[in-house]
Amino acid sequence: MDNLIEIKNLHATIDGKEILKGINLSVKPGEVHAIMGPNGSGKSTLSNVLVGHPAYTVTEGEIIYKGQDLLALSPEERSHAGIFLSFQYPVEIAGVSMTNFMRAAINAKREAQGLPAMSAGDFLKLMRDKRALVNLDSKLANRSVNEGFSGGEKKRNEIFQMAMLEPTLSILDETDSGLDIDALRIVAEGVNKLKRPDTSTLVITHYQRLLDYIKPDIVHVLYNGRIVKTAGPELALELEERGYDWIKNPQAE
């Protein structure tokens, strides 16, 4: 089967400092990949580069997504093409209601697909249906985007937006951070319910615990800007047990 996304020898910098030093990674439709690694290894940089964050510069390599050059696309075009990032730190946007925000997002995507704008009735119904998926309070939908949301609410809101936009490739950047066990379960269940045979997920995480709920097919270890180890789900358990030191110092084996 063709790869959904193929990352080849990706190098990226921020403020002139090289963070990614040659990433190679391929994800096939339907697969769940976990990317693990110690702090500062480049996990968040990878997710930001995939969605085209302007602060990062790709200096070398390429990313092929659905057969096209991803790096040539603007952030919104990548979104329209089905890439969704659940942000590690979702930004608060004062004065912009969730409803207006989601309507703008949905209709922008529909426009890109050559579809007419969604009617207000259909849109509100869609909001209602998807909200239920992550137990998001209807009150939150009337508030400004992420404003005054608790940590858990923000993460649930991310998954709610994912449900609304139905991406092909979802990147969950440390979605488990700051969540208690119940919130974690709700978020993970939401993600699992959204899973379809043709959609793929990149789970970026520090710990095993999210992977108890979202089962990865393949686990990668990112260290110092490179993928240093790739294996099956058992690798995550091993990392949980042994920490990252043995990866950092392979000669200590």
């Binding site: 919104e76 925000f101 703008a104």
Partner: protein, 447 residues
């Protein structure tokens, strides 16, 4: 020859003409104001209050003045259509500097309410007009004296005790002339005890001649009165406006004022609110959306003279291209104004390198049992928010619109004439999309 000299001469030469066409009452105040103006002249460059908005230069152009009060041909409907459609309001017009008596059928006003030509009422209701006319303006600066010197008409609204106007009154001030023109208009608004009114004042121009308007609005809120007043300025690059809004509030009265500058040339709004009776409340809002060479200067003074009063101010500017924004907000808390709460907020967005913002909040406090605060910021649209929206598929331009709209929305939300709020949202959206005074280059208008 300095500019004031020229106007002093114009007045001297045309005094009989001005006065014969106008009521004795207005003429009486005119004489006093002229003497004052003669001694002070226009505000000068070194006048701290007008440092960022040079005045004398504005008067240098060769304007025509309709001192003979020649009537205009045609009705307002011929050359004006409202950008706030379907607003259920009673419409009145001031064309240039005169109240326009239209033939349209209107529902009768509640008993005792006076609405119409100021000059006319000065003749039919002299005791009422005399008690209020120029009471506040005579204490104001030399521009107000200039207005009193030349003004011949305008509008009067009087709402008697315990009367509540059920529908908003929309006053459209229209600038229309075939030559460069200076017009001076006057509004006198008296809301008697426990009466309420909603007022919408819209400035429009319908030609591309350079104009300068002076406008003095004197408002008296008697005990327990409430007034909601929204001013919308939607003129053109060649139209300059020098306005005074002077409000005197008795105890337990309530003022909500919002001034929205959408399209203009140069605007200076002098807003002075005196909280003279205890328990009075004043809430001022302002929104300026400026591009090209637009210049908007809001200069506010809220004077707390009595105890237990409450005031708030929220002024926001969005400056694009080479626009200039000036905000000077003074809060003066007099020694007797204990238990005052007062807060002022000024937020500004600069969208280009050439846009300029001058902000000068001033707190002057002589009473100790008060809660006063002010905050002012200048900044740009939040880059992180823009990116977050882009990740969700919203284009950068659309994201900018959403953020600017949200930024502006905070001012609109404070307006408590509900019917108007939705329409204002629409109007502002039109402005952002360049559908009002279209301009191709700027970010505000880009689709």
């Amino acid at each position: 020859m300095s500019n004031e000299k020229e106007y002093i001469e114009i007045f001297d030469n045309n005094r009989p003409l001005i006065e014969t066409l106008c009521s004795a009452l207005l003429n009486k105040e005119r004489a006093k104001a002229f003497e004052q103006f003669k001694s002070t002249g226009f505000p000068k460059r070194d006048d701290e209050e007008y440092r960022r908005t040079p005045i004398d230069k504005l008067f240098a152009a060769d304007y025509g003045m309709n001192l003979g009060r020649l009537p205009l041909q045609g009705s307002p409907a011929d050359f004006f259509s409202c950008d706030v459609p379907n607003l259920r309001a009673r419409q009145e017009y001031i064309i240039n500097d005169s109240f326009y008596r239209d033939a349209a059928e209107k529902s009768p006003l509640p008993e005792g309410v006076l609405l119409g030509s100021l000059d006319q009422f000065a003749q039919t209701h002299p005791e009422l007009v005399e008690a209020y006319y120029n009471r506040q303006a005579q204490e104001s600066d030399s521009l107000a004296q200039f207005n009193t010197t030349f003004v011949q008409d305008g509008l009067l609204l009087y709402v008697p005790r315990d009367t509540k106007l059920s529908e908003p009154i929309q006053i459209v001030t229209l600038l229309r002339s075939n030559i460069e023109m200076l017009s001076n208009r006057r509004l006198l608004i008296i809301i008697d005890q426990n009466a309420t009114a909603d007022l919408l004042i819209c400035d429009h121009s319908s030609n591309d001649k350079q104009t300068l308007s002076t406008q003095v609005t004197e408002i008296f809120l008697r005990r327990g009165a409430a007034l909601n007043i929204v001013e919308i300025e939607e003129t053109g690059e060649k139209n300059s406006r020098l306005a005074h809004l002077l409000v005197n509030q008795e105890s337990d009265s309530r003022l909500n004022h919002c001034c929205i500058t959408l399209t203009n040339g140069l605007t200076r709004n002098n807003i002075k609110v005196t909280l003279a009776g205890s328990g009075a409340e004043a809430h001022l809002g302002g929104l300026a959306i400026c591009d090209k060479n637009q210049h908007t200067d809001n200069n506010t003074l809220v004077e707390h003279k009595a105890s237990h009063c409450n005031s708030s101010e929220l002024y926001k500017y969005i400056l694009d291209e080479e626009a200039t924004g000036v905000f000077s907000g003074r809060m003066l808390i007099c020694p007797d104004a204990q238990q005052t709460t007062s807060c002022q907020t000024n937020r500004n967005l600069c969208l280009t390198k050439c846009a300029r913002m001058y902000a000068q909040p001033q707190l002057e406090i002589y009473a100790d049992d008060v809660k006063c605060s002010h905050g002012s910021t200048v900044g740009q649209l939040d880059e992180n928010a823009l990116f977050y929206m882009q990740q969700r598929g919203i284009s950068k331009d659309e994201a900018r619109h959403l953020l600017m709209f949200a930024f502006a929305g905070e001012v609109i939300e404070k307006i408590n004439i509900e019917a108007l709020r939705d329409r204002l949202h629409l109007l502002i959206e039109k402005r952002f999309r360049g559908e009002l005074n279209r301009c191709k280059r700027c970010a505000l208008c880009k689709q």
